[in-house]
């Protein structure tokens, strides 16, 4: 067998021809290399500020295969630390979330603080039992603070982090994909931000490679057929037919150099007519009409988009409307992931609106979701049937609408390839190959990736 650590990813991914080696979905060495090349470098979405509203609040999250603590200090600043005690590696914080003025290790009692009044460096080691009698003059406490993630950004409530000090700004990393992310995070009435996580984050294990989820959510409209049973059962917000209320036609729009993609519409400057939603309740109908009217007024003739689903490379996917959620696919092993689903809602929406949204989210998404449960079946058994010795010698096919990419006016570096296209998956795996082969961010910035690129607008 070839040494996967030296095989260029270019040999595994042929994005131009829509061919991807099955090895990248099952191979352990490739998985290990992804941790270094992708998860230690990329911007990862790790939580939401509404999960840590007060000083000293924390929320334990994941970055790749590492556990991390997202916390807010007494001064209100947000930090991300490796969730592992510097003494002997104990998992410092074993609760999902809570509040702690200092993080004290259960093993030998070392403690760490983020309070600017106590420490210069947040995460510094402040307490060491028996320091004077056993460590004096030996242990330099300033050297043994928690490992702090160097890059952390709060974007409209969502918290993003990168381990790589050379990573570009989140703004550059997102590019014009940001417009689509805004469609999920902005208030329904068009104001910036305003969304919060509705309650508890769902977490569950799926025995598939983590890439199945972002690849699916980046724009696989072709798999619609696997949700026919949900469509037949009629689980949409209005309780009628299908699994969603009416939507506008969606196109696969991908950001060639960035690896992100969506199913959405092209940028426009006028608010299209409201499509009826939540039709079985007059109060909800009135609310959504009101949001639509406010939105038309608030946005005026500003550029806007709508979208249904998309992925920000590598593992953050989101839905802007029906349902309105974020899904992060955390890698566990080559053939296992942990899905986290955050449900989004406008903080100031009336309880009745929140309740209706929540009920729709739960019957649509998550492990009990009547739509999502069938996705997990596909991903799990695709993984299983790919892992065989002969099976993994072969390739997956991503040739749907190959060659139909056209530049999108008004979006830098974006192409569109119709509704039924694997163009976005091709972009995702092309970017995957770049990350896997690049020595560092200097080789991965959009300019370096395609020097001949001409911006669309």
């Amino acid at each position: 067998m070839q040494d996967r650590n030296t095989t260029p990813a270019g040999n595994l991914v042929d994005a131009e021809n829509g061919i991807v080696s099955r090895e990248i979905f099952v191979d352990r060495d490739i998985f290990a290399r992804e941790q270094e090349q992708i998860f230690a470098r990329a911007w990862l979405m790790i939580g939401h500020e509404s999960l840590i509203p007060e000083p000293d609040d924390y929320f334990v999250s994941r970055m790749g295969t590492d556990s991390v603590i997202l916390t807010r200090n007494k001064q209100g600043e947000i930090f991300v630390f490796l969730n592992s005690c510097m003494h002997r590696g104990m998992k410092l914080c074993r609760y999902d979330q809570g509040s702690a003025p200092v993080f004290t290790c259960p093993y030998h009692g070392w403690s760490y603080s983020t309070d600017r009044k106590r420490v210069d460096r947040p995460g510094a080691l402040v307490g060491v039992p028996r320091y004077q009698e056993c460590y004096e003059g030996v242990l330099d406490r300033s050297e043994w603070g928690l490992v702090r993630c160097p890059k952390v950004v709060n974007y409209k409530g969502t918290i993003w982090a990168s381990w790589d000090p050379d990573a570009p700004s989140l703004e550059d990393y997102l590019g014009d994909m940001r417009l689509y992310l805004d469609a999920a995070l902005d208030h329904r009435d068009g104001r910036e931000g305003g969304s919060i996580v509705l309650g508890t984050v769902q977490k569950w294990r799926v025995k598939c490679n983590w890439k199945f989820a972002p690849e699916n959510f980046i724009g696989d409209l072709y798999h619609d057929i696997s949700h026919r049973s949900a469509d037949l059962s009629g689980i949409g917000p209005s309780g009628g037919k299908g699994r969603r209320d009416a939507q506008r036609p969606r196109l696969a729009i991908g950001f060639t150099d960035l690896g992100h993609g969506v199913l959405g519409d092209l940028p426009h400057t006028a608010e299209p007519e409201l499509l009826p939603t939540h039709q079985d309740d007059p109060e909800l109908v009135a609310y959504h009409q009101q949001m639509h009217d406010d939105r038309s007024r608030n946005l005026g003739n500003r550029k806007r988009v709508t979208m249904s689903v998309g992925t920000i490379f590598p593992n953050m996917s989101f839905h802007a409307r029906q349902p309105r959620t974020i899904a992060v696919a955390h890698p566990i092993s080559a053939t296992e992931m942990e899905m986290w689903r955050y449900y989004l809602i406008d903080a100031d929406a009336p309880p009745k609106v929140k309740d209706a949204a929540m009920r729709y989210y739960l019957r649509y998404s998550g492990p009990a979701g009547m739509t999502e449960s069938d996705d997990m079946e596909n991903w799990t058994y695709a993984s299983e049937a790919t892992a065989g010795h002969i099976s993994r010698r072969h390739h997956y096919n991503y040739q749907l609408s190959l060659g139909q990419e056209r530049p999108v006016e008004g979006l830098r570096g974006a192409v569109e390839s119709g509704s039924y296209s694997e163009g976005n998956a091709r972009i995702f795996y092309r970017r995957w190959g770049q990350f896997m082969d690049a020595a560092g961010w200097a080789d991965m910035t959009p300019e370096a990736a395609t020097p001949e690129r001409v911006d669309a607008d």
Binding site: D96, K203, W204, R205, R228, S233, G366, A368, S373
Partner: protein
């Protein structure tokens, strides 16, 4: 000699346990339409998410019933939609079907009220086996409110406390 009240309690316990065990049979026999008949129209069927929380927050060890995510938060309408979906025979996470065994034990009657609506608690152990080697084990406590109806009992509320935080199954397409 047992008192009248003790005998009444014993008979009621026997009746309720029989009801719950018969319900488990309906589920394992996949007689979902008959199973749906066991619920009242105003049913609340709720499975919160368990969380690992520190001591001061122990009252928040499970997600809330209102305005919070859960694993299930259903009425009879959506429970019926779920049965409809299974009956399409193309709900792929239940096709081929899961082999299930619903064990119900530790049945207790917590509150008889005026006798027409009683609160019960039991343990469940649900073994699921599917395809070749897909195995899930769901264990926890169940709080049921039963209401007297013509010809027996109906379930008006079911609260399911699953002893898992991260769900260790890829999907939840089994009923509890």
């Amino acid at each position: 000699m047992p008192t009248d009240a003790a005998l009444q309690a014993l008979l009621l316990h026997h009746e309720i346990e029989g009801f719950l065990l018969a319900e488990a049979d309906l589920l394992d026999d996949r007689k979902y339409r008959d199973w749906l008949n066991l619920f009242t129209d105003d049913l609340v069927y709720w499975m919160p998410i368990s969380r690992n929380v520190p001591p001061p927050d122990r009252d928040r060890a499970r997600s809330d019933e209102s305005l919070d995510a859960s694993w299930f938060n259903e009425g009879l309408d959506t429970l019926t939609q779920r049965v409809n979906q299974i009956e399409t025979d193309i709900h792929w996470s239940e096709e081929p079907p899961t082999r299930t065994t619903h064990m119900v034990s530790n049945v207790r009657i917590l509150d008889v009220g005026d006798g027409d609506e009683i609160r019960t608690k039991c343990r469940f152990l649900v073994y699921c086996n599917r395809l070749q080697d897909e195995v899930d084990l769901f264990v926890g406590k169940r709080f049921d409110t039963l209401r007297r109806a013509s010809g027996g009992w109906k379930i008006s509320r079911r609260e399911i406390h699953l002893d898992q935080s991260v769900l260790l199954a890829k999907s939840l397409t089994t009923f509890f």
